[in-house]
Point group: C2
Chain length 314, copies 2
């Protein structure tokens, strides 16, 4: 399990290629929620999402043989962009499998970064199993979306939150495979166990939440439009970390995620992708619990597809 020490060690590898993201206070969001509300703008990063931090830390630790073999991974978009970006910065080849109905903007961005993108299978989990076999056959390094080095890398944003708002009381973070929630948990709870870390996910993709509640891996139906959190098969290593640290895990209906995207546009003038708007949807559900407290909503990314944007503001 990665530690605060691993997150601190990741910083030079991450900040070699990107700058810390802003944490902004929004008066009108604060009024809406009856709390002191801040947004952590991971949507401002290169490739538009927090995952890029993990990829950079991961690529910095490859052996010469791994660099030669190249990186292979599967992604609904942002993990793939992260690996593509890191591979480009480090001069390595990247091959990425995406589901057949992948977000076209994210696919174009991966290709723009020089990665080879292959559409395969109906969802993330199918694409992942296939590309894992490909990596083995071609002597490449398969990158799981929850590797320790990825978690340590993305944890750097949680350290930035702690530095910008040392007296933060609640952090609400979306969960796909869990690397973001784990990075936040490890950092926040190690520094101050009183900080509440609340995970959230689409109610139409509850596998990670059900597994966390059950204390064992549970596969669940996955029908969400929010591709950044479209997880059907849970991950054991991130579940272990979440079992140790998470205070709560809230599900938000897809219809409320769309509303949250619109509210984020109105109140912050930032376009969150579906996953990045879930924390606001969750906060609205647990408004009473948050009343008067210092709350950080993690806007994990901004790569919203145009059809989802249209749906959210129609």
């Amino acid at each position: 399990m990665p530690t605060l020490h691993d997150v601190i060690a990741a910083r030079p590898h991450v900040y070699r290629y990107l700058k810390p993201t802003p944490l902004y206070h929004y008066a009108s969001l604060s009024e809406l929620l009856g709390a002191e509300v801040y947004v952590k703008h991971e949507n401002h990063l290169p490739v538009g999402a927090f995952k890029v931090r993990g990829g950079l830390n991961f690529a910095a630790h490859l052996s010469a043989a791994e660099r030669r073999g190249g990186l292979f991974t599967a992604s609904t978009g942002n993990h793939g962009q992260s690996i593509a970006f890191a591979a480009k910065m480090h001069g390595i080849k990247a091959t990425i499998a995406v589901p057949e109905v992948a977000n076209p903007g994210k696919v174009a961005a991966m290709r723009g970064l020089g990665a080879t993108v292959i559409h395969h299978g109906a969802d993330f989990d199918t694409a992942r199993e296939w590309i894992k076999a490909q990596a083995q056959a071609q002597g490449g390094r398969f990158v799981s979306p929850t590797e320790d080095l990825l978690i340590a890398g993305v944890g750097t944003y949680a350290l930035e939150i702690m530095e910008d708002l040392p007296d933060v009381e609640v952090i609400i973070v979306p969960v796909g495979a869990g690397s973001g929630a784990c990075g936040v948990s490890i950092v926040a709870k190690t520094i101050n166990p009183n900080i509440e870390v609340i995970a959230c996910q689409s109610a139409q993709a509850p596998a990670m939440q059900r597994s966390w509640l059950a204390g064992e891996l549970v596969t669940a139906e996955m029908t969400t439009f929010a591709e950044g959190v479209a997880t059907r098969v849970p991950f054991e290593n991130t579940q272990q970390i979440m079992r140790q640290y998470l205070d709560d895990f809230v599900l938000v209906d897809d219809a409320d995620i769309l509303k949250a995207i619109r509210l984020m546009i109105e109140h912050t003038h930032n376009m969150a992708e579906s996953a990045g708007a879930i924390p606001l949807g969750a906060a609205l559900q647990i408004k009473t619990h948050l009343a008067g407290r210092k709350v950080v909503l993690v806007m994990s990314g901004g790569n919203l597809a145009l059809d989802q944007l249209k749906l959210s503001i129609s």
Copy 2:
């Protein structure tokens, strides 16, 4: 006229309250324009626009008497947010006149920052004359949107461009009152006179462009929806600077500004406000001229009203 020295002197006042913004390369925008295209993300700043830099520099230089009297200004939105933000950071009172049809999101943001906002008059110029008289009557400091200290403050983003991309060849910047274009011109041309600085504006608000072409102040009809550049009466001091430095001044039809907003969402996943999308509209018009060169588009702000967003993607 402010100089590079004034811009350098503004940096500590600006960076006391905000961080440099990113300059990102976009592969798909580059393909679209046939050039090496970067976007300067001034939409990532607090209050969502470049003007906040100017307000911070201005507020840092007030006398004790001026601080007591408070700041008075008029704004279509972003200049007002800048003054409201700076006033809040410096513990000063701010009173801001806005046109009767002001962008509601920007008005809410100014009030959220603690400013007194008064709706007055049909456009920016009417609101400005009125609040100027109010400032005099109440012993406050009227802030013109093109004061030297504002220009020097906003010029800090141009220095960031020069540091991140020293071999930039063309910078395209939108013009409302002209502080942004002047800040960019002063910095870029002083450091390297070969850098082309191209201004742009809505074809439905051409007063600044016509004045620049004519070499004297010309008032023009103003019907644009792009409130950030809705200037009817030109400003002499910024015209002087632009006459000395600008290489070209391109007009973009409102219909093409809407298209540029949509293209920015598709290619960068960033929501530009109307003014912030004009440089892309201008670049598309002068594509042949830009071919193969290193081009920076200044996304001056992101405070797009919801109805304009709907129009742009419908």
